[in-house]
């Protein structure tokens, strides 16, 4: 059970809706509600905005493909014992 109540997308201000649109485009998936992490990051766009841009820069294709980087991210999450 999450420590906080995750708000539905409709409870967020217009400035946060841009992050949800970016999240939908990033995952290319039509979520019923934005993923929990997207809603956490949209809580404070002054943190979530730059954090998300850093993530997109790190995850974008370069010497490694995005798919390869997703696998690296999964390995890091596993080592950090993160169920989410």
């Amino acid at each position: 059970m999450p420590t906080v109540r995750l708000r539905a997308a409709a409870e967020y201000p217009p400035s946060s809706q841009k992050l949800f649109e970016a999240s939908r485009a990033w995952f290319n998936y039509d979520f019923a509600q934005p993923p929990a992490m997207s809603r956490v990051m949209a809580w404070d766009v002054e943190f979530g905005g730059p954090h998300g841009r850093a993530m997109k820069r790190a995850m974008g294709p370069g010497e490694f493909t995005r798919a390869e980087k997703e696998m690296v991210a999964a390995a890091v999450s596993g080592i950090n014992s993160c169920e989410y």
Binding site: A58, E63, E70, V76
Partner: protein
Amino acid sequence: MTGDALWYEAAQVVGITNALNVAADTLDALGPVDDPTASSAVRELFAEMREFYQGDAVPPGFRFIVHDPAYAAEVWAATRHAFTDHCLARRLKEALAFAVSVTSRSTSGAAFHLSEMRRLGVGARGVMEIVGVTQMFSSYTKIADTLQLEPDMGDIAPEDPSPAPGGVPRGDAPLR
């Protein structure tokens, strides 16, 4: 990156890397086995590693676990298999091992796998890409854990219907 075979391979790399880092970073009290004092069996094992890595380096953890050469030989067989090109390229496997080592604060593992990434052609940009992914997901995971978020993205990935290697396709197994 669809198909479970890729993920099984990645899991092997993550697991064996962590196992070797655990030994490399904690077993100083055992004392490392150096080449001049090594038995012929251990020298043979080190030679296999040097051939595989095309250099003088031996993965640091092995210098401690070769105190039991038969055990170390089995660990080496698993390591060599895990890092050999199969579904995933060795270059990506070394990147995974580097990310695992950085995440688990293994200085020796990070140095070894960084060296291997470079040997396999990963440039400065590629290294920083893996550093970036490792750092960002070390942030996301701790945010998720602090807020005890529950997984909600499992439906994105398609399920792989293929059987285990050499196995029977799902639905075709004989009824008992």
